[in-house]
Symmetry: C2
Subunit: 91 residues, 2 copies
């Protein structure tokens, strides 16, 4: 099962020490809550809900997607897109 | 309301023409389904479900988060984190 996220301050050296950034890996978030140490959003879905969530950090309606990912992909050759989550069907 | 995502092939020039990439904006996805034009995931939550979704494109359990974002943030000074979505409470 997924280990619970360590909320506390894990020793940075321990965490980053053995990490090899990928070629070209850089900052992704240039816009959203820049003064926050880590941007985490909590969402609740009701029965019948369907929401489209941003994963490119460029949406004007973050955490929801507004389609900006298409322009980002065209401009950078990336292929990122949203996460679509549905709640259980309405009875 | 959110306009439906244009699935068809929208004229690239039209889409990217007026788009100004942000300073430092580059590819975010170096690992996940690289042969796909746009990576979109569809997920369904049942009552009582709670899932942690990756928004950094580095998780080994994508589309779910596995904590790699913390190492990415430490290595790049970024502040990205997951999206936590819960279904309706179980009756
Ligand atoms: S605007 Fe960010 S994924 Fe669509
Ligand atoms: S591993 Fe990507 S947001 Fe946690």
């Amino acid at each position: 099962a997924f280990a619970p996220i360590a909320q506390g301050n894990v020793n940075t050296a321990l965490r980053a020490g053995d990490y090899e950034p990928m070629e070209g890996e850089g900052k992704m978030n240039m816009k959203i809550d820049l003064d926050s140490k880590k941007v985490v959003n909590m969402e609740e879905l009701a029965a019948g809900d369907k929401k489209v969530y941003c994963r490119c950090w460029l949406s004007g309606t973050f955490p929801l997607c507004d389609g900006t990912h298409a322009k980002h992909n065209d401009a950078t050759g990336d292929n990122v897109g949203p996460l679509i989550v549905s709640g259980p069907k309405k009875e």
